[in-house]
Assembly symmetry: C2
Homo-oligomer: 329 residues x 2
């Protein structure tokens, strides 16, 4: 059986707590050397890119890939395929527009669980799009959040976000008029913006960091996308990333901090190693910590598997039977 | 619209002449530097492999990939995805078990068209499986073949192949009892075997080469698969391959010839460059020429596109609508 899951189905099958648990399992597996994750293939097309990200999970018995392609101007499409190693079965092919945002949130959830101060209860969100939503959902899944502020340059967007997320999360979400005001006093800051085409892309400044804060920054996933300034990297006492290699290759924020000589590799560790106890994350309640992610194939394949399991349980999706022939020798 | 095409549908949509033309178009495009083809990703799994082969075709306006996975013991499954760059549309997802054999044949067809002596009319086939069939179909599509001999160690297999292909091609196909007898006097020799698990994997020997012959060898696509001996590479006066890099990495036959110091890189050229007039293939009627292929993503994506076009024309396949959401910025 192979399931085809479209965007609406995938969104309705995403349960953030399950995604967080599943992504965490994948990261722990990767830390134990049981995942095979080659560098992403990023192929130029006439007007954009075609990116292929496979991963093999040898403890979970899974494998799969995400392919996403398009351009900032024309738009992007995402596909995730998940396979079971046993029987070499293709389990599902699914749209991964929403799921990419959800797994980014889930990864932030895993990071926040281990990196935020235990009693963190106030959250600031900069950004009001899909990723801002999924990342806030994830943060609220791992901490007893009492109050959220949100800033977005568009007043209507931030008001809509506040209303929607208040209702969804049952927590006060307040729209505020400036980013500095938004982040003041927050235990956790989520920076989830899309600066494409903006004259000043910097949405969060290191000058605003306060003792004990955790900054989760997920928006700068391409060299031309920016959101946090180089000072944020310099002021952070601990920097945790999802992939050391990928953040340097792909994030415009990291590239800018490197150029400004404000990205000290000595204080950068990977989330998976923090989970496995192989590296230190937060070491004191007062420490200022930065989590920076760009997304990895492990996150995609594990999140895709969680969605597949939910689809099977709920009888959702289009079952196209045993789609792929088995060639035997 | 995205089409799902299963194995039976794909097989019924494969027209060898169309596949040959389409693969040739892709190879010419690649020769002009208009294709982006990274090295294949070959990931180990607990019991086998997970191989991902993307290609972007910037003149045809296509992109896509083949993923194949499994093991020689458990079996292998193949999937090809084809996208249009215009609109960033996913055109089709198709089973590629049969299609992989068909595109291998089509590539042999392209090679045979430019490398066999113009008047070639006798063909010897060593092997009686699916690849032997598709490769013979392709050779017969580009030369006026009058007589075919076939050898396979299993008498029943070779008799069945002879009967089937005689009927299909309208040409005399005769099963013979030894490979040396099979190839004697043949203008074109197709070596398309699967030696997995055989004590003596060598099916064709360089000692049998005769002036003017073209040997098309397609079976050794993994380091542990063999079919032609190192002498074949040494005796060949011209060696044409589908990918210089890949044949050295993937073909057990090429690896053995390299080890034996019988693989002279100076006489090896790529098929795409022969097509584009950038390299010489056959230079005389008496020359002994070897074509060796392992398969490339360009062949897969172009063949997949030909099948997609046929499916649209004939109204075949399962249309799952616009499967992938377009995320705009």
């Amino acid at each position: 059986m192979t399931l085809i899951l479209n965007a609406q189905e995938v969104e309705s099958l995403c349960d953030m707590s399950t995604l967080i648990d599943t992504v965490e399992r994948g990261l722990r597996e990767e830390a134990q050397g049981r995942a095979v994750v080659p560098p992403r293939l990023n192929l130029p097309t006439a007007s954009g890119f075609f990116r292929v990200m496979p991963a093999v999970m040898n403890d979970s018995g899974l494998m799969g890939y995400k392919v996403f392609h398009g351009s900032m101007r024309g738009g992007v499409r995402y596909l995730i395929a998940v396979y079971a190693q046993e029987g070499e079965r293709l389990l599902a092919l699914m749209d991964a527009h929403y799921l990419t945002a959800a797994r980014t949130g889930a990864t932030t959830g895993v990071a926040t669980k281990v990196l935020a101060t235990p009693g963190a209860k106030t959250v600031a969100v900069i950004g009001s799009g899909l990723e801002a939503r999924t990342n806030l959902q994830a943060v609220c899944a791992v901490r007893a959040v009492e109050c959220v502020t949100v800033f977005s340059p568009n007043p209507e967007h931030r008001a809509r976000f506040a209303a929607r997320m208040s209702a969804e999360l049952g927590v006060e979400v307040r729209a505020v008029e400036s980013p500095a005001h938004c982040v003041r006093g927050a235990d956790i800051v989520v920076v989830a913006t899309n600066s494409f085409g903006r004259p000043d892309p910097i949405a969060y400044r290191g000058a605003w960091m306060e003792p004990g804060v955790l900054v989760d920054a997920i928006g700068s996933t391409s060299p031309f996308l920016r959101e946090i300034d180089a000072d944020t990297f310099q002021r952070a006492e601990s920097i945790v990333v999802d992939s050391k290699v990928q953040v340097e290759e792909e994030s415009g924020d990291v590239k800018a901090a490197l150029s400004a000589d404000k990205y000290d590799r000595a204080k950068v560790v990977e989330l998976k190693d923090v989970l496995a106890g192989k590296a230190q994350g937060r070491t004191s309640a007062q420490q200022m910590v930065l989590f920076k992610s760009v997304g990895t194939a492990v996150q995609d394949v594990m999140a895709g598997f969680a969605v597949y399991e939910a689809a099977v349980q709920q009888g959702r999706g289009l079952d196209i039977g045993e789609f792929l022939d088995l060639k035997t020798f």
